[in-house]
Protein backbone atom coordinates (compact mmCIF):
# COMPACT_ATOMS: atom_id res chain seq x y z
CA UNK A 1 0.00 0.00 0.00
CA UNK A 2 1.42 3.34 -0.98
CA UNK A 3 1.53 6.31 1.35
CA UNK A 4 1.46 8.78 -1.50
CA UNK A 5 0.82 8.22 -5.18
CA UNK A 6 0.18 10.08 -8.39
CA UNK A 7 -2.06 8.90 -11.20
CA UNK A 8 -1.61 10.26 -14.73
CA UNK A 9 -0.28 13.50 -13.33
CA UNK A 10 0.33 16.23 -15.91
CA UNK A 11 1.88 19.51 -14.81
CA UNK A 12 2.38 22.69 -16.76
CA UNK A 13 3.73 26.16 -16.11
CA UNK A 14 2.16 28.58 -18.58
CA UNK A 15 2.54 27.07 -22.05
CA UNK A 16 5.29 24.57 -21.11
CA UNK A 17 4.41 21.04 -20.09
CA UNK A 18 6.65 20.02 -17.19
CA UNK A 19 5.70 16.36 -17.00
CA UNK A 20 3.14 14.18 -18.70
CA UNK A 21 1.05 11.30 -17.32
CA UNK A 22 3.26 10.61 -14.33
CA UNK A 23 2.08 7.61 -12.32
CA UNK A 24 4.30 6.90 -9.33
CA UNK A 25 3.74 5.16 -6.01
CA UNK A 26 5.71 6.26 -2.96
CA UNK A 27 6.01 3.64 -0.23
CA UNK A 28 7.05 3.76 3.39
CA UNK A 29 10.75 3.70 4.11
CA UNK A 30 11.69 5.24 0.79
CA UNK A 31 13.71 8.38 0.18
CA UNK A 32 12.98 9.97 -3.16
CA UNK A 33 15.07 12.55 -4.93
CA UNK A 34 13.55 14.81 -7.57
CA UNK A 35 16.32 15.83 -9.98
CA UNK A 36 16.22 18.12 -12.98
CA UNK A 37 17.51 21.32 -14.47
CA UNK A 38 16.29 24.81 -13.46
CA UNK A 39 12.68 25.34 -14.45
CA UNK A 40 12.07 21.63 -15.09
CA UNK A 41 9.19 21.59 -12.61
CA UNK A 42 10.75 20.12 -9.45
CA UNK A 43 9.13 22.61 -7.10
CA UNK A 44 5.84 22.52 -9.01
CA UNK A 45 5.78 18.74 -8.65
CA UNK A 46 6.57 18.98 -4.95
CA UNK A 47 3.84 21.56 -4.33
CA UNK A 48 1.35 19.44 -6.26
CA UNK A 49 2.27 16.43 -4.13
CA UNK A 50 1.71 18.60 -1.05
CA UNK A 51 -1.77 19.50 -2.30
CA UNK A 52 -0.92 23.20 -2.51
CA UNK A 53 -1.88 23.53 -6.18
CA UNK A 54 -4.21 21.62 -8.45
CA UNK A 55 -2.66 19.47 -11.15
CA UNK A 56 -3.37 20.29 -14.80
CA UNK A 57 -4.74 16.76 -15.01
CA UNK A 58 -4.48 13.60 -12.99
CA UNK A 59 -4.66 13.18 -9.24
CA UNK A 60 -2.50 12.86 -6.13
CA UNK A 61 -3.52 10.19 -3.63
CA UNK A 62 -2.60 10.48 0.05
CA UNK A 63 -3.24 7.09 1.68
CA UNK A 64 -5.49 6.11 -1.24
CA UNK A 65 -7.65 9.24 -0.87
CA UNK A 66 -7.48 12.18 -3.19
CA UNK A 67 -5.43 14.83 -1.42
CA UNK A 68 -7.83 17.70 -2.07
CA UNK A 69 -10.46 15.89 0.01
CA UNK A 70 -8.42 16.21 3.19
CA UNK A 71 -9.08 19.10 5.53
CA UNK A 72 -6.01 21.33 5.71
CA UNK A 73 -5.48 20.44 9.33
CA UNK A 74 -5.68 16.69 8.74
CA UNK A 75 -3.33 16.97 5.78
CA UNK A 76 -0.82 18.91 7.89
CA UNK A 77 -0.58 16.00 10.32
CA UNK A 78 0.23 13.59 7.50
CA UNK A 79 2.40 15.66 5.26
CA UNK A 80 4.82 18.54 5.75
CA UNK A 81 6.70 20.69 3.28
CA UNK A 82 9.97 22.54 3.67
CA UNK A 83 9.79 25.49 1.32
CA UNK A 84 12.70 26.59 -0.81
CA UNK A 85 12.53 30.06 0.73
CA UNK A 86 10.56 31.61 3.56
CA UNK A 87 9.25 35.08 4.28
CA UNK A 88 10.00 36.88 7.51
CA UNK A 89 8.17 40.18 7.46
CA UNK A 90 7.20 40.18 11.13
CA UNK A 91 10.10 38.46 12.82
CA UNK A 92 9.13 36.16 15.68
CA UNK A 93 11.54 34.44 18.04
CA UNK A 94 13.05 31.07 17.16
CA UNK A 95 10.85 29.34 19.73
CA UNK A 96 7.66 31.00 18.47
CA UNK A 97 8.54 29.96 14.93
CA UNK A 98 9.23 26.34 15.84
CA UNK A 99 5.98 26.23 17.81
CA UNK A 100 4.01 27.13 14.67
CA UNK A 101 4.92 23.58 13.62
CA UNK A 102 2.57 22.38 16.37
CA UNK A 103 -0.34 24.35 14.89
CA UNK A 104 -2.16 21.35 13.41
CA UNK A 105 -2.18 19.66 16.81
CA UNK A 106 -2.95 22.67 19.00
CA UNK A 107 -5.86 23.83 16.86
CA UNK A 108 -7.24 20.33 16.67
CA UNK A 109 -10.52 21.01 18.40
CA UNK A 110 -12.56 24.15 18.40
CA UNK A 111 -12.45 24.63 22.16
CA UNK A 112 -8.70 24.32 22.05
CA UNK A 113 -8.48 26.80 19.24
CA UNK A 114 -10.12 29.40 21.47
CA UNK A 115 -7.91 28.69 24.47
CA UNK A 116 -5.15 27.89 22.10
CA UNK A 117 -1.90 27.67 24.04
CA UNK A 118 0.73 25.05 23.41
CA UNK A 119 1.00 22.36 26.03
CA UNK A 120 4.08 21.40 27.98
CA UNK A 121 4.56 18.55 25.52
CA UNK A 122 4.58 20.97 22.57
CA UNK A 123 7.32 23.00 24.24
CA UNK A 124 9.30 19.88 25.04
CA UNK A 125 9.05 18.68 21.46
CA UNK A 126 10.12 22.08 20.15
CA UNK A 127 13.13 22.05 22.47
CA UNK A 128 14.09 18.57 21.28
CA UNK A 129 13.85 19.64 17.64
CA UNK A 130 16.01 22.69 18.32
CA UNK A 131 18.51 20.47 20.08
CA UNK A 132 18.68 18.11 17.09
CA UNK A 133 19.64 21.05 14.89
CA UNK A 134 22.07 22.47 17.45
CA UNK A 135 19.99 25.57 18.05
CA UNK A 136 19.37 25.01 21.77
CA UNK A 137 20.91 28.29 22.89
CA UNK A 138 18.97 30.38 20.41
CA UNK A 139 15.34 29.79 21.32
CA UNK A 140 14.72 33.39 22.38
CA UNK A 141 16.64 35.00 19.50
CA UNK A 142 14.67 36.86 16.88
CA UNK A 143 14.65 35.16 13.48
CA UNK A 144 15.94 38.25 11.67
CA UNK A 145 19.11 38.27 13.78
CA UNK A 146 20.12 34.79 12.60
CA UNK A 147 22.43 33.88 9.73
CA UNK A 148 21.02 32.30 6.58
CA UNK A 149 22.07 28.80 7.59
CA UNK A 150 20.67 29.21 11.10
CA UNK A 151 17.35 30.40 9.65
CA UNK A 152 17.27 27.34 7.44
CA UNK A 153 17.84 25.12 10.45
CA UNK A 154 14.98 26.84 12.29
CA UNK A 155 12.69 26.02 9.37
CA UNK A 156 13.85 22.42 9.42
CA UNK A 157 13.27 22.29 13.19
CA UNK A 158 9.74 23.62 12.57
CA UNK A 159 9.10 20.80 10.12
CA UNK A 160 10.42 18.27 12.64
CA UNK A 161 8.11 19.76 15.30
CA UNK A 162 5.22 19.30 12.88
CA UNK A 163 6.32 15.65 12.77
CA UNK A 164 4.53 14.56 9.60
CA UNK A 165 4.82 11.01 8.24
CA UNK A 166 5.65 12.35 4.80
CA UNK A 167 8.28 15.07 4.48
CA UNK A 168 8.54 16.98 1.23
CA UNK A 169 11.79 18.95 1.14
CA UNK A 170 12.50 21.65 -1.41
CA UNK A 171 16.28 21.99 -1.59
CA UNK A 172 16.80 21.27 2.12
CA UNK A 173 20.51 22.01 1.74
CA UNK A 174 20.02 25.65 0.76
CA UNK A 175 22.38 27.86 2.74
CA UNK A 176 23.69 24.99 4.88
CA UNK A 177 27.38 24.27 5.34
CA UNK A 178 28.71 20.87 4.24
CA UNK A 179 28.62 19.45 7.75
CA UNK A 180 24.94 20.31 8.18
CA UNK A 181 24.11 19.14 4.66
CA UNK A 182 25.21 15.66 5.65
CA UNK A 183 23.68 15.85 9.13
CA UNK A 184 20.29 16.95 7.96
CA UNK A 185 19.99 14.51 5.12
CA UNK A 186 20.94 11.62 7.40
CA UNK A 187 18.50 12.92 10.01
CA UNK A 188 15.68 12.75 7.48
CA UNK A 189 16.93 9.40 6.22
CA UNK A 190 16.73 8.02 9.75
CA UNK A 191 13.13 9.16 10.09
CA UNK A 192 12.17 6.75 7.32
CA UNK A 193 13.30 3.84 9.49
CA UNK A 194 10.14 4.46 11.52
CA UNK A 195 7.05 2.76 10.11
CA UNK A 196 4.96 4.69 7.55
CA UNK A 197 7.54 7.43 6.99
CA UNK A 198 8.64 8.73 3.63
CA UNK A 199 10.74 11.60 2.26
CA UNK A 200 10.63 13.22 -1.14
CA UNK A 201 13.24 15.89 -1.73
CA UNK A 202 14.36 18.21 -4.47
CA UNK A 203 18.14 18.15 -4.65
CA UNK A 204 20.73 19.76 -6.88
CA UNK A 205 23.60 17.59 -5.70
CA UNK A 206 23.54 14.30 -7.60
CA UNK A 207 26.09 12.70 -5.28
CA UNK A 208 24.13 13.51 -2.13
CA UNK A 209 21.05 12.12 -3.83
CA UNK A 210 22.94 8.91 -4.62
CA UNK A 211 24.10 8.64 -1.05
CA UNK A 212 20.87 9.40 0.80
CA UNK A 213 18.06 8.48 -1.57
CA UNK A 214 16.74 5.10 -2.61
CA UNK A 215 14.64 6.30 -5.52
CA UNK A 216 14.54 9.22 -7.92
CA UNK A 217 12.29 11.06 -10.34
CA UNK A 218 14.17 12.69 -13.20
CA UNK A 219 12.45 15.59 -14.93
CA UNK A 220 13.95 16.02 -18.40
CA UNK A 221 13.96 19.36 -20.21
CA UNK A 222 11.56 18.24 -22.91
CA UNK A 223 8.82 17.42 -20.40
CA UNK A 224 9.29 13.69 -19.96
CA UNK A 225 9.91 12.09 -16.61
CA UNK A 226 11.61 8.88 -15.58
CA UNK A 227 11.60 7.30 -12.17
CA UNK A 228 12.81 4.22 -10.33
CA UNK A 229 15.59 3.01 -8.06
CA UNK A 230 18.28 5.66 -8.08
CA UNK A 231 21.17 3.20 -8.51
CA UNK A 232 19.58 1.78 -11.65
CA UNK A 233 18.49 5.14 -12.97
CA UNK A 234 21.61 7.26 -12.80
CA UNK A 235 24.50 6.92 -15.20
CA UNK A 236 26.69 9.36 -17.09
CA UNK A 237 24.55 9.33 -20.18
CA UNK A 238 21.29 9.99 -18.33
CA UNK A 239 22.84 12.80 -16.30
CA UNK A 240 24.23 14.47 -19.43
CA UNK A 241 20.78 14.32 -20.94
CA UNK A 242 19.18 15.61 -17.71
CA UNK A 243 21.42 18.58 -17.10
CA UNK A 244 22.64 19.18 -20.69
CA UNK A 245 26.26 19.26 -19.66
CA UNK A 246 29.11 16.73 -19.68
CA UNK A 247 29.63 14.46 -16.64
CA UNK A 248 32.58 12.47 -15.47
CA UNK A 249 32.12 9.30 -13.44
CA UNK A 250 34.57 8.23 -10.74
CA UNK A 251 34.11 5.03 -8.80
CA UNK A 252 35.94 2.87 -6.35
CA UNK A 253 34.70 -0.23 -4.53
CA UNK A 254 32.76 1.91 -2.01
CA UNK A 255 30.82 4.39 -4.09
CA UNK A 256 30.32 6.10 -7.40
CA UNK A 257 30.71 9.87 -7.77
CA UNK A 258 29.65 12.02 -10.72
CA UNK A 259 31.53 15.20 -11.46
CA UNK A 260 30.01 17.81 -13.75
CA UNK A 261 32.33 19.10 -16.47
CA UNK A 262 34.97 17.37 -18.52
Amino acid sequence: MSLLATENLTLAAGPTTLCRDLTVQFHEGENWAILGANGSGKTTLLHTLAGLRPAESGIVLLRQTEISRFRHIERAKQLGLLLQQSETVFPATVMETVLTGRHPYVSDYFWRSIWQWESQRDYQLAHECLQQLQLSGMSERRIDTLSGGEKRRVEIATLLAQDPAICLLDEPNNELDLNFQLKILSLFQQRTLKPEHLNIMVLHDVNLALRFCSHAILLFPEGTARYGKISELLNTETLEQLYQCPFHCLSDDKRTVYLPGN
Binding site: H72, A92, G101, Q116, Y123, L125
Partner: protein, 347 residues
Protein backbone atom coordinates in the same frame (compact mmCIF):
# COMPACT_ATOMS: atom_id res chain seq x y z
CA UNK B 1 23.66 33.48 27.14
CA UNK B 2 21.94 30.53 28.75
CA UNK B 3 18.85 31.31 30.77
CA UNK B 4 16.06 29.08 31.99
CA UNK B 5 14.22 29.26 28.69
CA UNK B 6 17.13 27.84 26.74
CA UNK B 7 17.61 24.75 28.86
CA UNK B 8 16.77 21.52 27.10
CA UNK B 9 13.19 20.34 27.28
CA UNK B 10 14.05 17.37 29.45
CA UNK B 11 15.18 19.54 32.33
CA UNK B 12 12.41 22.05 31.87
CA UNK B 13 9.69 19.42 31.65
CA UNK B 14 9.16 18.63 35.34
CA UNK B 15 9.45 22.26 36.37
CA UNK B 16 7.20 23.54 33.66
CA UNK B 17 4.01 23.13 35.65
CA UNK B 18 5.54 25.29 38.37
CA UNK B 19 6.87 27.89 35.97
CA UNK B 20 3.89 28.03 33.64
CA UNK B 21 1.59 30.29 35.69
CA UNK B 22 4.38 32.87 35.84
CA UNK B 23 5.08 32.76 32.12
CA UNK B 24 1.37 33.24 31.48
CA UNK B 25 1.51 36.25 33.79
CA UNK B 26 4.52 37.60 31.93
CA UNK B 27 2.78 37.06 28.61
CA UNK B 28 -0.22 39.03 29.73
CA UNK B 29 1.70 41.53 31.84
CA UNK B 30 1.01 44.37 29.45
CA UNK B 31 -2.62 43.29 29.11
CA UNK B 32 -3.05 43.51 32.87
CA UNK B 33 -1.44 46.92 32.95
CA UNK B 34 -3.69 48.13 30.12
CA UNK B 35 -6.77 46.84 31.93
CA UNK B 36 -5.82 49.18 34.77
CA UNK B 37 -4.81 51.98 32.43
CA UNK B 38 -8.09 51.99 30.47
CA UNK B 39 -10.34 53.06 33.39
CA UNK B 40 -7.73 55.62 34.44
CA UNK B 41 -7.80 57.13 30.94
CA UNK B 42 -11.59 57.17 30.94
CA UNK B 43 -11.65 58.88 34.35
CA UNK B 44 -9.23 61.48 33.07
CA UNK B 45 -11.45 62.10 30.04
CA UNK B 46 -14.46 62.53 32.34
CA UNK B 47 -12.78 64.93 34.70
CA UNK B 48 -10.95 67.31 32.34
CA UNK B 49 -12.77 70.07 30.50
CA UNK B 50 -14.42 73.46 30.80
CA UNK B 51 -16.19 72.16 33.92
CA UNK B 52 -13.47 70.27 35.84
CA UNK B 53 -14.81 67.39 37.91
CA UNK B 54 -13.03 65.61 40.75
CA UNK B 55 -12.93 61.82 40.97
CA UNK B 56 -15.41 61.83 43.85
CA UNK B 57 -17.81 64.04 41.88
CA UNK B 58 -17.56 61.71 38.88
CA UNK B 59 -18.12 58.73 41.12
CA UNK B 60 -21.17 60.35 42.70
CA UNK B 61 -22.62 61.30 39.33
CA UNK B 62 -22.06 57.82 37.91
CA UNK B 63 -23.85 56.52 41.00
CA UNK B 64 -26.76 58.81 40.18
CA UNK B 65 -26.40 61.40 42.97
CA UNK B 66 -24.64 64.30 41.21
CA UNK B 67 -26.11 67.66 40.30
CA UNK B 68 -28.10 68.08 37.10
CA UNK B 69 -25.27 69.91 35.36
CA UNK B 70 -22.73 67.28 36.32
CA UNK B 71 -25.12 64.62 35.13
CA UNK B 72 -25.54 66.35 31.78
CA UNK B 73 -21.81 66.95 31.32
CA UNK B 74 -20.93 63.33 32.02
CA UNK B 75 -23.78 61.38 30.46
CA UNK B 76 -24.54 63.62 27.48
CA UNK B 77 -21.09 64.88 26.61
CA UNK B 78 -17.97 63.35 28.08
CA UNK B 79 -18.84 59.69 28.64
CA UNK B 80 -20.26 58.99 25.18
CA UNK B 81 -17.37 60.84 23.61
CA UNK B 82 -14.72 59.05 25.68
CA UNK B 83 -16.29 55.65 25.01
CA UNK B 84 -16.51 56.45 21.28
CA UNK B 85 -12.85 57.44 21.34
CA UNK B 86 -11.95 54.17 23.06
CA UNK B 87 -13.95 52.17 20.53
CA UNK B 88 -12.43 53.99 17.56
CA UNK B 89 -8.88 53.53 18.88
CA UNK B 90 -9.50 49.84 19.48
CA UNK B 91 -11.17 49.34 16.09
CA UNK B 92 -8.39 51.07 14.17
CA UNK B 93 -5.66 49.16 15.99
CA UNK B 94 -7.42 45.85 15.41
CA UNK B 95 -7.85 46.64 11.72
CA UNK B 96 -4.17 47.63 11.53
CA UNK B 97 -3.00 44.35 13.07
CA UNK B 98 -5.22 42.31 10.75
CA UNK B 99 -4.25 44.16 7.58
CA UNK B 100 -0.55 44.03 8.36
CA UNK B 101 -0.77 40.25 8.51
CA UNK B 102 -3.10 39.99 5.52
CA UNK B 103 -0.82 42.08 3.32
CA UNK B 104 2.32 40.98 5.17
CA UNK B 105 3.42 44.56 4.94
CA UNK B 106 4.51 46.56 7.99
CA UNK B 107 3.31 49.78 6.34
CA UNK B 108 -0.29 48.63 6.00
CA UNK B 109 -2.86 50.65 7.93
CA UNK B 110 -6.65 50.56 7.95
CA UNK B 111 -6.91 53.34 5.39
CA UNK B 112 -4.58 51.83 2.84
CA UNK B 113 -7.32 49.70 1.29
CA UNK B 114 -9.50 52.63 0.30
CA UNK B 115 -12.26 51.89 2.81
CA UNK B 116 -11.92 55.25 4.49
CA UNK B 117 -11.77 56.93 1.09
CA UNK B 118 -15.08 55.39 0.07
CA UNK B 119 -16.61 56.30 3.41
CA UNK B 120 -15.29 59.87 3.11
CA UNK B 121 -16.67 60.40 -0.39
CA UNK B 122 -20.10 59.19 0.64
CA UNK B 123 -19.98 61.28 3.83
CA UNK B 124 -18.96 64.41 1.90
CA UNK B 125 -21.77 63.79 -0.58
CA UNK B 126 -24.17 63.60 2.36
CA UNK B 127 -22.71 66.84 3.80
CA UNK B 128 -23.05 68.55 0.41
CA UNK B 129 -26.66 67.48 0.25
CA UNK B 130 -27.14 68.89 3.75
CA UNK B 131 -28.09 65.54 5.23
CA UNK B 132 -28.77 64.95 8.93
CA UNK B 133 -26.18 63.38 11.24
CA UNK B 134 -27.90 60.01 11.01
CA UNK B 135 -27.85 59.98 7.21
CA UNK B 136 -24.21 61.09 7.28
CA UNK B 137 -23.27 58.12 9.46
CA UNK B 138 -25.26 55.71 7.35
CA UNK B 139 -23.86 56.89 4.05
CA UNK B 140 -20.27 56.80 5.36
CA UNK B 141 -20.73 53.17 6.34
CA UNK B 142 -22.28 52.34 2.97
CA UNK B 143 -19.35 54.08 1.24
CA UNK B 144 -16.87 51.97 3.18
CA UNK B 145 -18.67 48.78 2.20
CA UNK B 146 -18.86 49.84 -1.47
CA UNK B 147 -15.11 50.40 -1.48
CA UNK B 148 -14.51 47.06 0.22
CA UNK B 149 -16.50 45.23 -2.45
CA UNK B 150 -14.83 47.11 -5.31
CA UNK B 151 -11.31 46.34 -4.02
CA UNK B 152 -12.19 42.73 -3.29
CA UNK B 153 -13.76 42.18 -6.70
CA UNK B 154 -10.93 43.82 -8.62
CA UNK B 155 -8.15 42.18 -6.63
CA UNK B 156 -9.69 38.75 -6.79
CA UNK B 157 -10.29 38.82 -10.55
CA UNK B 158 -9.72 35.48 -12.22
CA UNK B 159 -6.74 34.28 -10.28
CA UNK B 160 -6.14 34.19 -6.55
CA UNK B 161 -5.09 37.45 -4.92
CA UNK B 162 -1.54 37.85 -3.83
CA UNK B 163 -0.83 40.39 -1.09
CA UNK B 164 0.83 42.67 -3.63
CA UNK B 165 -2.14 42.57 -5.97
CA UNK B 166 -4.56 43.28 -3.14
CA UNK B 167 -2.36 46.09 -1.82
CA UNK B 168 -1.95 47.73 -5.22
CA UNK B 169 -5.67 47.51 -5.93
CA UNK B 170 -6.41 49.05 -2.54
CA UNK B 171 -3.89 51.84 -2.95
CA UNK B 172 -5.12 52.74 -6.43
CA UNK B 173 -8.78 52.67 -5.40
CA UNK B 174 -7.87 54.85 -2.40
CA UNK B 175 -6.14 57.29 -4.76
CA UNK B 176 -9.31 57.38 -6.85
CA UNK B 177 -11.39 58.22 -3.79
CA UNK B 178 -8.79 60.87 -2.90
CA UNK B 179 -9.33 62.59 -6.25
CA UNK B 180 -13.09 62.54 -5.69
CA UNK B 181 -12.60 64.05 -2.22
CA UNK B 182 -10.53 66.91 -3.66
CA UNK B 183 -13.19 67.46 -6.28
CA UNK B 184 -15.98 67.58 -3.71
CA UNK B 185 -13.99 69.98 -1.51
CA UNK B 186 -13.39 72.27 -4.48
CA UNK B 187 -17.03 72.56 -5.45
CA UNK B 188 -18.33 72.71 -1.87
CA UNK B 189 -19.82 75.90 -0.51
CA UNK B 190 -17.78 77.86 2.05
CA UNK B 191 -19.89 76.97 5.08
CA UNK B 192 -19.66 73.26 4.24
CA UNK B 193 -15.88 73.13 3.78
CA UNK B 194 -15.02 73.51 7.47
CA UNK B 195 -17.27 70.62 8.49
CA UNK B 196 -15.87 68.54 5.67
CA UNK B 197 -12.26 69.21 6.66
CA UNK B 198 -12.99 68.33 10.28
CA UNK B 199 -14.59 65.11 9.17
CA UNK B 200 -11.63 64.29 6.95
CA UNK B 201 -9.08 64.98 9.68
CA UNK B 202 -10.88 62.85 12.21
CA UNK B 203 -13.19 64.35 14.77
CA UNK B 204 -15.16 62.95 17.68
CA UNK B 205 -17.10 66.04 18.75
CA UNK B 206 -20.34 64.72 17.30
CA UNK B 207 -20.12 61.23 18.75
CA UNK B 208 -23.12 60.65 20.96
CA UNK B 209 -23.75 56.92 20.60
CA UNK B 210 -20.80 54.73 21.51
CA UNK B 211 -22.85 51.55 21.91
CA UNK B 212 -22.87 50.30 18.28
CA UNK B 213 -19.14 50.77 17.79
CA UNK B 214 -18.35 49.19 21.17
CA UNK B 215 -20.49 46.17 20.31
CA UNK B 216 -18.78 45.81 16.92
CA UNK B 217 -15.39 46.14 18.64
CA UNK B 218 -16.18 43.32 21.06
CA UNK B 219 -17.56 41.05 18.32
CA UNK B 220 -14.60 41.71 16.03
CA UNK B 221 -12.17 41.12 18.88
CA UNK B 222 -13.76 37.75 19.63
CA UNK B 223 -13.73 36.92 15.91
CA UNK B 224 -10.07 37.86 15.55
CA UNK B 225 -9.10 36.03 18.72
CA UNK B 226 -10.56 32.75 17.48
CA UNK B 227 -8.02 32.70 14.66
CA UNK B 228 -5.21 34.55 16.43
CA UNK B 229 -3.04 31.43 16.35
CA UNK B 230 -3.69 30.99 12.66
CA UNK B 231 -2.52 34.60 12.19
CA UNK B 232 0.85 33.64 13.65
CA UNK B 233 1.11 30.94 11.01
CA UNK B 234 -0.11 33.18 8.19
CA UNK B 235 2.53 35.76 9.13
CA UNK B 236 5.09 33.19 8.00
CA UNK B 237 3.62 33.23 4.49
CA UNK B 238 0.64 31.72 2.73
CA UNK B 239 2.31 28.55 1.50
CA UNK B 240 3.75 27.82 4.92
CA UNK B 241 0.34 28.44 6.45
CA UNK B 242 -1.27 26.02 4.01
CA UNK B 243 1.23 23.28 4.85
CA UNK B 244 0.65 23.84 8.57
CA UNK B 245 -3.07 23.22 8.39
CA UNK B 246 -4.48 26.70 7.83
CA UNK B 247 -6.88 27.17 4.94
CA UNK B 248 -5.34 30.43 3.69
CA UNK B 249 -8.21 31.35 1.41
CA UNK B 250 -10.85 31.16 4.11
CA UNK B 251 -8.63 32.89 6.63
CA UNK B 252 -7.83 35.73 4.22
CA UNK B 253 -11.49 36.34 3.47
CA UNK B 254 -12.30 36.33 7.16
CA UNK B 255 -9.51 38.82 7.90
CA UNK B 256 -10.49 41.02 4.99
CA UNK B 257 -14.16 41.16 5.94
CA UNK B 258 -13.53 41.75 9.64
CA UNK B 259 -10.88 44.40 8.96
CA UNK B 260 -13.16 46.17 6.49
CA UNK B 261 -16.19 46.20 8.78
CA UNK B 262 -14.07 47.42 11.66
CA UNK B 263 -12.46 50.18 9.60
CA UNK B 264 -15.78 51.29 8.16
CA UNK B 265 -17.23 51.49 11.68
CA UNK B 266 -14.29 53.55 12.95
CA UNK B 267 -14.41 55.90 9.97
CA UNK B 268 -18.14 56.30 10.36
CA UNK B 269 -17.77 57.33 14.00
CA UNK B 270 -14.70 59.53 13.79
CA UNK B 271 -13.69 60.21 10.19
CA UNK B 272 -10.05 59.69 9.25
CA UNK B 273 -7.92 59.48 12.35
CA UNK B 274 -4.34 59.32 11.21
CA UNK B 275 -1.56 57.02 12.45
CA UNK B 276 -3.43 55.08 15.16
CA UNK B 277 -3.96 51.99 12.99
CA UNK B 278 -0.36 52.04 11.79
CA UNK B 279 1.48 52.93 14.97
CA UNK B 280 -0.40 51.12 17.73
CA UNK B 281 0.16 47.61 16.27
CA UNK B 282 3.87 48.26 15.91
CA UNK B 283 4.08 49.86 19.32
CA UNK B 284 2.38 46.84 20.84
CA UNK B 285 4.79 44.50 19.05
CA UNK B 286 7.71 46.46 20.44
CA UNK B 287 6.25 46.55 23.95
CA UNK B 288 5.00 42.97 24.22
CA UNK B 289 5.05 40.28 21.57
CA UNK B 290 4.37 39.55 17.93
CA UNK B 291 2.32 36.52 18.99
CA UNK B 292 -1.18 37.50 17.87
CA UNK B 293 -2.84 35.86 20.85
CA UNK B 294 -1.17 38.55 22.94
CA UNK B 295 -0.85 41.22 20.28
CA UNK B 296 -4.54 41.41 19.34
CA UNK B 297 -6.02 42.18 22.80
CA UNK B 298 -3.07 44.40 23.74
CA UNK B 299 -3.33 46.45 20.56
CA UNK B 300 -7.06 46.97 21.08
CA UNK B 301 -6.59 48.12 24.68
CA UNK B 302 -3.58 50.30 23.92
CA UNK B 303 -5.30 51.84 20.90
CA UNK B 304 -8.36 52.58 22.99
CA UNK B 305 -6.37 54.25 25.78
CA UNK B 306 -4.27 56.21 23.31
CA UNK B 307 -7.34 57.51 21.55
CA UNK B 308 -9.10 58.54 24.77
CA UNK B 309 -6.05 60.57 25.83
CA UNK B 310 -5.66 62.07 22.35
CA UNK B 311 -9.32 63.08 22.21
CA UNK B 312 -9.20 64.59 25.69
CA UNK B 313 -6.21 66.62 24.57
CA UNK B 314 -7.98 67.59 21.36
CA UNK B 315 -10.92 69.16 23.17
CA UNK B 316 -9.01 70.80 26.04
CA UNK B 317 -5.59 71.96 24.81
CA UNK B 318 -6.82 75.04 22.97
CA UNK B 319 -10.24 75.23 24.63
CA UNK B 320 -12.70 76.58 23.70
CA UNK B 321 -11.27 75.79 20.24
CA UNK B 322 -11.60 72.10 19.49
CA UNK B 323 -8.85 70.47 17.48
CA UNK B 324 -9.53 67.50 15.22
CA UNK B 325 -8.34 64.42 17.09
CA UNK B 326 -6.40 63.22 14.03
CA UNK B 327 -3.99 66.11 14.45
CA UNK B 328 -3.32 65.14 18.07
CA UNK B 329 -2.82 61.44 17.29
CA UNK B 330 -0.19 62.42 14.76
CA UNK B 331 1.44 64.87 17.20
CA UNK B 332 1.68 62.28 19.99
CA UNK B 333 2.04 59.18 17.88
CA UNK B 334 4.87 60.07 15.57
CA UNK B 335 7.52 61.05 18.17
CA UNK B 336 6.45 58.27 20.55
CA UNK B 337 6.77 55.69 17.82
CA UNK B 338 10.12 56.99 16.63
CA UNK B 339 11.39 56.87 20.22
CA UNK B 340 10.28 53.25 20.68
CA UNK B 341 11.78 52.27 17.34
CA UNK B 342 15.05 53.91 18.20
CA UNK B 343 15.19 52.25 21.61
CA UNK B 344 14.48 48.80 20.20
CA UNK B 345 17.25 49.15 17.62
CA UNK B 346 19.75 49.87 20.36
CA UNK B 347 18.86 46.91 22.53
Amino acid sequence: MANWKTLPGKIIGPFWSLVKPFTMLARFGLTGFLFVLAPVCLMLALSVGSLPLSVSEIWATLGGSGSEVQHAVIFDLRLPRALSAFAVGGLLSLAGVLLQVLLRNPLADPYIMGISGGASVFALLALTAGASAGTLTGSAFVGGMVSMIIVFGLAHGRQAWTPTRLLLTGVVVAAGWGALISFLLTIASNENVRGMLFWLMGDLSHSRQPAPSLIILVLALIGAYVFARALNVLARGELTAATLGVNPFRLKIAIYVIASLVTATAVTVAGNVAFVGLIIPHMTRLLSSSDHRILVPNAVLLGGCFMVIADTAARTLLAPVQLPVGVITAFIGVPLFLFLLHRSRLS
